[in-house]
Symmetry: C3
Subunit: 138 residues, 3 copies
């Protein structure tokens, strides 16, 4: 965790745009949460042509939907959403009205990674978790 | 928002069925919530053959999973789910047992569109939001 | 419900691995919840090459994300997540650090299947639901 899923119609985001988004979403989440980079996932779920509609008409949206651990202040979420929106706008010419960013809280205990239930997003629990899974946070 | 995602195996929904579903889901959400049509998204996430199983056996389900802003009465959700289920049944011959409709609440502040955090689903906040983003609600 | 969605890059899971995962996820959910097998969905959402990144670098993760009815004890979720993680590890050689399992609660009334709002996960309500939809639980 987190998992950020970018949904758009195939071709909306060029390979360069995708690489740039991976870098910015990863950096934004790490900077705003203060968490380690090593477990930040960004995936692209491409949709087929004729698969995206807004207001009943064909559209070319970009949706970024993140699932993050619950427990951080509202300002963190707002900063993440604002910066991800800007990052999408910087690499594509889609209509700004069609860019949506969702950052959804998930209780830590609803998720497991590397075989261990996730820690609450506080340093002491995270340190203990990293010790358990044997990973070195970046 | 909302974002309604229709998941089915490629070929389960004909192009005509998809067009009909876009129209009905858009109309249903607009009518039941009283909200503007312009920001209602319907997307199709096609799954490959051999990618859908129910009870451990190959199946051909249709899942409609919507994320909507939290804050509306239960009757609105029930009406949306019932009518979407009927709309799916009207355009495909899949087993009615294999049609699932999920309408998931999302706190407005968990989502941003057009660069602005979404308003609560009440008229005064929505009007202010539309003024900010410079869109005219349909 | 439930719906378990397995996300991985195309090719990460062999056809045999997928069949094995369908069987284990279905059995695990049924055993741990005591619920009927007939409505347990497992679907695979394949991602394209160059579509999955962790820590900013290309990765080959396996995510299993389930949506289940809310209302069961924490131990049930923990058992489901632990056993699904083990099942994934048993059929693929992906890095254990890149396996994530999410089991997300959904209020029963947020979902409809076979045209009827889902029952709370207690026997009496489930029996009434099965009678309504005319299905025989397996």
């Amino acid at each position: 965790m987190p998992i950020y899923e970018v949904q758009s119609q195939r071709g909306t985001l060029s390979p360069d745009a995708r690489r740039a988004l991976v870098e910015s979403i990863t950096a934004i989440h790490a900077e705003e949460t203060g968490g380690p980079v090593d477990f930040i996932n960004v995936i692209f779920a491409d949709l087929e042509p004729d698969s995206t509609y807004t207001g009943g008409k064909p559209s070319r949206p970009v949706f970024v939907r993140g699932q993050v651990r619950a427990g951080r202040p509202d300002e963190v979420r707002l900063a993440i959403m604002t910066r991800i929106n800007d990052a999408v706008m910087a690499v594509t010419d889609v209509d700004p009205m069609r860019v949506a960013v969702v950052v959804e809280d998930l209780p830590s205990k609803w998720a497991m990674e590397a075989g261990h239930v996730l820690p609450e997003p506080v340093a002491a629990e995270e340190d203990a978790w990293f010790a358990k899974v044997g990973a070195r946070p970046a």
